[in-house]
Symmetry: C2
Subunit: 244 residues, 2 copies
Amino acid sequence: MRNLLLYLQYDGTYYHGWQIQPEDVTVQQTVEAAIFKIFKEEISVAGCSRTDAGVHAKKYALSFFTDCKIPADRVAVALNTALPCDIRALVCVEVCENFHARFDTVSKTYQYIINNGNFDVFMRNYCWSVKNKLDIQKMKDAAKFFIGKHDFKSFMTGDKDSTVRTVFLLDIVQNGDFINIFISADGFLYNMVRIITGTLKRVGEGKLDADKIPEIIKARDRRLAGETAPPQGLYLYDVKYENY
Amino acid sequence: MRNLLLYLQYDGTYYHGWQIQPEDVTVQQTVEAAIFKIFKEEISVAGCSRTDAGVHAKKYALSFFTDCKIPADRVAVALNTALPCDIRALVCVEVCENFHARFDTVSKTYQYIINNGNFDVFMRNYCWSVKNKLDIQKMKDAAKFFIGKHDFKSFMTGDKDSTVRTVFLLDIVQNGDFINIFISADGFLYNMVRIITGTLKRVGEGKLDADKIPEIIKARDRRLAGETAPPQGLYLYDVKYENY
C-alpha cells in the first residue's frame, strides 16, 4: 500500500462543492471516478478542505492509499486523461503512511477576488462584483485586527466547540479594478473567509469603522459582522504541510 | 422610429455564435428576446459581425429601429434586467436613420489569447493553450508582413469574390504566460483571425520561417497557411464607426 498526495486545480462553478453528496455532482466524486478509471480501484480520497458549491481551488491537496504501481510522477498526467477539463491534477508525490491531507495541514491560504469596476461577463463566475467604490486603505486598516490568534465565532456560520484560529496573514492587493484578499490561517471556520470579506467590504464602503473590528471579534456574535460574500469569488490558494 | 446603436459584451462559451439559427441558442436571439421583454416589440437587430460558436466579444455593436420611447441612455440598464449574466449591454446611443451596425464599420479589432504556460482550468474557455514554447520575436517578425492591403485568400475558410482586406495593425503583446494578438482591419474574411493566429503559432514554434509569409499571402492557397486556431481564444475587441 502506498500513500499518495495529489495536488489539484479546479473551477468549482459547476460542482456542488468538494464533498461527496448523494444527489449532486461534486469534485470529490469526479476525482474518485477518474482514479477508478485509471487505477482500477475504488478509492475514497481524503481532501484538505470542504469547499462549498461554486468555490474554486488553485491548489487543492488530497491523499489516498493505493496498491496501484503507477509511479507517483506519472499519476497527474494519467489522471488528466480521465478528468473533465475543469479539474486538473497538478503534481503527485508519495508520502509516509500516516500522512493525511486534511489533518496534517500546517496552514491554508484562501484568495478572495472582488471586482470593484464594471461588471465583467468573463469574470461573473470568478469574483464578487461590488458596485460601491471601496476604500482600500480602510480595508487594510481593518485587516490588521484579524491577524493573530483570536476567537472567530463572529465570523462563522453555524456553531462549533472550538472557534479559536490563528490568522498568519491578511493581505489586500489591488490590481486595477480587482481587489484581492489573501488570508492564511492554521484553520478556518465555516464561511470564515467569506464573512471576513463581507466585513472588509462594509469597511471599504464606509459603513463600518475599521476600529470596530476588535469589538466585533470580542462579541462572538455573527450578527455584528458583515454579510457572507458569495462563493464564486473564493479560491483555495495554497495548502502547506510540514514535510511536503 | 428611432435608430439605436447598442454596445454589448458577451461570453460566447454557451452560444452557437451570434447569428440566429433555427435549432440552437445564439446571442442574437437572446438579445432580441430581451428587447422584446423590455420594448414590447418584435425587433430584428443588425449585428456588426457574425461571431462563431465559442467566440467572445468585449465590445460588440448592433443597431435596431424602435418606436419605444425609453431614453437611449437608459436602454442598457433596462436590457440588463432581461439579459442572462453572460451578455451585458454596455452603452446605447441614438444614431441617424441610415446608420447600420454592419455596413458602417470603419474598422474592427479582434484579440486572440494564447496561453503558453501550464493549462489553466479558469481560462479553458477563454484562450488557446499551446504547449510548445513560442518565440515571440519570430511571431512579431511574421506579423509585420500581414499589415497593409493584401489579398487574404490563403487565410480564409470557404470562398468569396472579394478577398482583399486592409490590416491596419497586428500587435503581439506578451503578458506573463499569455500572448495577446491584436489585429485591426477594415474587414475580415471567414476565420481570418484564427488562421492568421494558427500561422503565427507555427512561426513561433519554429516550424515556419517568418520570411515565408509574403509567399503564403501571394499564393492565395489556404493549404499553405497554418491551422485554424480554436474559437475560445478569440474576442471581438473593438468596433469603430465614423461618427459614433
